[in-house]
């Protein structure tokens, strides 16, 4: 009976801690807050509760798009096998679409808490790919241009930003104003490894003439900057240890910052803000720029008389219209800065509603995601579920976050879509964070009133 009671309570809490969000973020992971030291990567003002924390290597993964998995690998009616069908993806596309993947490996995290704050030393390896495209691109892939004869296909919404780097840094958070204000900052040395991105302002349009089907192509800032990719794709051209040497150290270094603050406005209201990955990588080593000069060209075919090899002539005539080259000029890219804004309303010291806004500045756009969360936290244990609503597909996700200390060992996991295991094809987002930490000195900082006997719940 007691167990049943706990189960019902747990279920009720799970239901009530639904967080509604339109998100691209690790919202559920964010909600683990002070209990999990690695969340400092999202909010530097989080101060872990243990005196000393040692985080074992762990990884997080996020993949998200504006279409569901069943749109990406669809099935024809009656067919058991998958197919990649642009028509299906087109039907699922919004005017602007994004595909994002993020992999973060926390190599180590060491935290030390003081009376007025805390210190941390950390190292991460991070990789992300963000693709943004307009519906025109997908329509072109699905239907070609026959539906746009006499009209323009605008590919200017297409952007790609792929980054791989590792970082090592230190963090410090400090309490002020009788603990009402906490300010945190992290300084990290970043070494860029691999990169590919479209240049800022890159745009392209394709107009198909309604009479002769000629193509008028306009390109501006059509440059793709890369770094490190030649090392991967043409590894035979390099010494055998070139890749490992490059990965360990190269000239693509910068210093970046994470900043965050929490302020207890009232006893029942806390506001907080965090701005992460503030910095710019100046890519100097292993740089390749693939450039096409600004131009507007009309492709109207080739002179067919006397033609011997039409395919080569056609290809040559198109290539000759564009002035393209490959250079090795260094370039700078801002780190994909991420911003969290949150306001928490405490019903009790253990129960709060939180409104969170998140923006990924990868394409220098303000397109925030929002979440509304109810969270129940007890001393060394928190759990919750995440409910998110995503616009274009009217998709509802339920998330989960759990963390508990078992002796000095802390287990945690977080996902924004815990339903992914039940018919994953109907979802468009998958993320997962799981890790182990060694936490020491927890009791030193906890009041007896904070201690919760789980058995009493």
């Amino acid at each position: 009976m007691k167990a049943m009671k706990k189960l019902l309570l747990t279920t009720a809490l799970l239901v009530f801690t639904i967080q509604f969000s339109y998100s691209q973020a690790y919202f559920s992971y964010f909600q683990l807050r002070e209990l999990v030291p690695q969340t400092q990567s999202l909010q530097p003002a989080f101060i872990p509760k243990g005196t000393f924390t040692f985080g074992l290597p762990t990884a997080g993964f996020l993949a998200q798009s504006d279409f569901k998995l069943r749109d990406l690998i669809s099935k024809q009616s009656g067919d058991v096998n998958f197919e990649v069908n642009f028509d299906v993806m087109l039907a699922a596309s919004a005017e602007i679409n994004t595909i994002s993947t993020d992999v973060t490996a926390n190599l180590f995290h060491v935290g030390y808490k003081t009376k007025n704050g805390g210190y941390s030393l950390f190292a991460n390896a991070r990789a992300s790919i963000d693709l943004r495209y307009g519906k025109d691109l997908m329509e072109f892939l699905a239907n070609g241009n026959s539906n746009r004869i006499g009209a323009e296909i605008n590919l200017s919404d297409t952007r790609i930003f792929a980054n791989t780097y590792h970082e090592i840094g230190i963090g410090h958070a400090h309490k002020f104003l009788e603990d009402r204000l906490t300010v945190g900052a992290r300084v990290k040395v970043i070494t860029g490894l691999f990169h590919a991105s479209t240049a800022e302002g890159a745009s392209g349009t394709l107009y198909t003439n309604e009479i002769d089907n000629s193509w008028r192509i306009s390109l501006q800032n059509a440059t793709v900057n890369t770094a490190g990719l030649d090392l991967l794709m043409n590894s035979d051209d390099y010494e055998s240890n070139a890749a490992s040497s490059y990965a360990m150290s190269n000239q693509n270094k910068t210093v970046a910052f994470d900043l965050g603050a929490k302020f207890k406005v009232l006893d029942w209201l806390t506001v907080e803000a965090a701005m992460n990955d503030i910095g710019t990588i100046n890519w100097k080593e292993q740089v390749r720029n693939y450039n096409t000069a600004d131009t507007t060209v009309t492709i109207s075919g080739i002179q067919l008389r006397g033609l011997e090899n039409s395919s080569d002539s056609f290809k040559d005539s198109i290539q000759n219209k564009f002035r393209s080259n490959e250079t090795q000029k260094e370039f700078s890219t801002s780190l994909p800065m991420k911003t969290y804004l949150a306001a928490s309303l405490f019903l009790t010291p253990r129960d709060k509603f939180t409104v969170i806004a998140f923006n990924n500045h990868v394409f220098k756009e303000i397109d925030p995601s929002f979440a509304l969360a109810y969270n129940h936290t007890v001393n060394k244990f928190t759990f919750g579920v995440l409910g998110s609503y995503r616009g274009p597909q009217n998709e509802v996700n339920l998330g989960l976050n759990l963390a508990t200390d078992i002796g000095p060992m802390q287990l945690y996991l977080a996902t924004d879509n815990m339903l992914i295991s039940n018919k994953p094809e109907q979802y468009s987002k998958m993320d997962f964070r799981f890790g182990l930490n060694l936490m020491f000195g927890y009791k030193k900082w906890s009041s007896k009133s904070d201690a919760v006997d789980l058995d009493s719940l």
């Binding site: 747990t10 058991v80 197919e83 028509d87 026959s146 075919g301 002179q303 067919l304 078992i406 815990m418």
Partner: protein
């Protein structure tokens, strides 16, 4: 306590799992099919750009040159060479023989003492003329001169025979023959190559200017012995023969000679590609081009010129050109080694040539007679060299001032892209014609397989329209015509079996029905843009 926490943690995880459950049915036994991409692409293919010259370039293969006249009207010209006439066709030198017998006039009957008598005689001979020829000189290139001397005199005769008319080409001295005739050896035969000599027949023995004269001087001395018996009628004789004489160069007058150039057959293959319909050339001309290096004029009579149509119909040349001889001039004596070009033009003013050419003849029969030094030509001092030649060519000039009505051209072109059609499921081929020519065209495409059987036909349709013609004879502006040819999937599958296309083109000039002849200026062009809209299917499996 720790166990309780693990239990709580697992409880929460399990509770979640129970609530959520696992269902990967979508992925069960599923594999990823080959990627199939089925876009519909609207693409430009290219442009076929034709000038008037390009349009008729196929005629070039049949020997037609395409250029333009002084008004920039496109001109089709066809040139052919008829049989050339060499010097031997006009003149051969006949063998000539000259003989003379001379009585010494001595009457001696064994007088018992010796005596000596000298004689000098000069003789003239005329070259035998067959066709009124009269030579001033002949530079021989072959043949021989044979000389025979005979003595009837019973005494030794020392002689010297001088042929003043045969001058050695190197020494410029006349041919001199000398020797002694005795009663025991009364004959002397001598022979020499004529090629060493130039025959100068322009002076008589007195140095007067004449023609066809051979002058021979005979000097002889009779040495009479005491026993010689000589009658008054005894004397010496000589004969000279020009045997098989060949000439290098002849001056004088070669007379009036006829030469027939019969049944020269001119093949006009360039009309072969036009099987049906009509084409009328308004201003064609048929030019006979003579290059004459002979030093005399020629009269030309067109005995017969007739066109044979592709259906075998014979259309003879009529008009004044058919009956009036033409004159072909030759170079004057001061221009030996050069040629004089003379063009005898047959056109609409002197013949029915437009009718002949517009019949799109397969062949033209030409029978021409030439006459040297015709009475109608001005008198001219003649010469003829062995290397002289009368070259006769024909030049057919056809300015593209034409009326074309339903002229059908059939061409078979290879179709070698059948393999590339496999990925096409639906195809619309668009042809956009921008035409500056006063010529409209309808097209029919018959796709044929390797057995020459039709597998698919694109029915006849207007491909380009003739541009309207303004008052200055030029077109006022281009016409634009768009044709869409649709191929459904089943049609394309048929095309995959095709190996060639019969391209049937029906051409009609602007206002052809009103018999308007339009001009094709060289700057006109016809541009046909090709575009396609294709539903394709690309499969990674392939």
């Amino acid at each position: 306590m720790s166990i309780k926490r693990i239990r709580s943690f697992l409880l929460a995880v399990c509770a979640t799992a129970v609530l959520v459950g696992c269902n990967f049915e979508y992925f069960a036994d599923a594999e990823l099919n080959d990627f199939v991409w089925t876009p519909s692409l609207a693409i430009p293919i290219g442009e076929l750009s034709y000038t008037v010259e390009d349009l008729f370039s196929e005629l070039s293969g049949a020997g037609v040159d395409i250029g333009q006249n002084s008004e920039d009207v496109v001109m089709l010209t066809y040139e052919a060479q008829l049989q050339s006439q060499t010097a031997t066709g006009f003149l051969t030198l006949a063998d000539q023989t000259f003989a003379q017998e001379v009585d010494a006039g001595l009457n001696i009957n064994a007088t018992g003492f010796g005596a000596q008598f000298n004689f000098n005689e000069v003789y003239e001979f005329d070259l035998a003329a067959t066709q009124n020829e009269a030579f001033d000189s002949v530079r021989f290139s072959g043949g021989s001169i044979d000389i025979v001397l005979n003595s009837e005199i019973d005494a030794e005769v020392d002689f010297t025979l001088t042929l003043s008319s045969l001058v050695n080409s190197d020494t410029h001295l006349p041919l001199v023959v000398s020797g002694t005739l005795t009663p025991g050896n009364a004959n002397v035969n001598l022979s020499d190559a004529l090629s060493k000599y130039v025959g100068d027949f322009s002076k008589d023995k007195n140095g007067n200017e004449v023609r066809n004269k051979i002058v021979v001087k005979l000097d002889y001395q009779v040495r009479v012995s005491g026993s010689s018996v000589i009658r008054a009628t005894d004397g010496v004789s000589f004969s000279m023969s020009l045997v098989s004489p060949k000439f290098d160069l002849v001056y004088g007058f070669i007379g009036s000679r006829n030469l027939d150039i019969n049944f020269e057959l001119l093949n006009l293959d360039f009309f072969d590609s036009f099987k049906e319909g009509s084409i009328s050339f308004a201003e064609p001309s048929f030019n006979f081009v003579f290059d004459n290096s002979f030093g005399f004029p020629l009269g030309i009579n067109f005995n017969q010129i007739a066109a044979i149509t592709q259906k075998g119909q014979i259309i003879p040349l009529t008009g004044s050109a058919a009956t009036t001889p033409g004159i072909v001039n030759g170079p004057l004596v001061g221009a030996v080694g050069t040629s004089v070009n003379t063009v005898l033009k047959l056109n609409s003013t002197n013949s029915n040539i437009p009718e002949l050419i517009s019949s799109m003849p397969k062949k033209v029969i030409i029978e021409v007679n030439t006459e040297t030094n015709p009475a109608s030509a001005p008198a001219q001092y003649n010469f003829i060299g062995a290397s002289n030649e009368l070259s006769i060519g024909v030049l057919l000039e056809m300015p593209m001032i034409v009326n074309i009505n339903g002229l059908i051209s059939r061409q078979n072109v290879a179709f070698d892209i059948a393999g590339d059609l496999e990925q096409a499921k639906k195809l619309t081929l668009r042809l956009i014609a921008e035409n500056e020519l006063p010529l409209g065209g309808e097209i029919e495409l018959v796709f044929k397989d390797v057995n020459d059987d039709a597998v698919f036909t694109v029915s006849q349709r207007a491909l380009f329209e003739g541009a309207p013609v303004g008052g200055d004879g030029r077109t006022t502006g281009p016409t634009t015509n768009i044709v869409d040819i649709n191929f459904l999937d089943a049609d394309i599958r048929l095309l995959e079996n095709a190996t060639s296309i019969d391209v049937v083109t029906r051409l009609t000039t602007t206002d052809a029905s009103s018999n308007l002849a339009v001009k094709f200026f060289s700057d006109y062009s016809l541009k046909i843009k090709l575009a396609a809209q294709a539903d394709i299917e690309l499969n990674t499996k392939n």
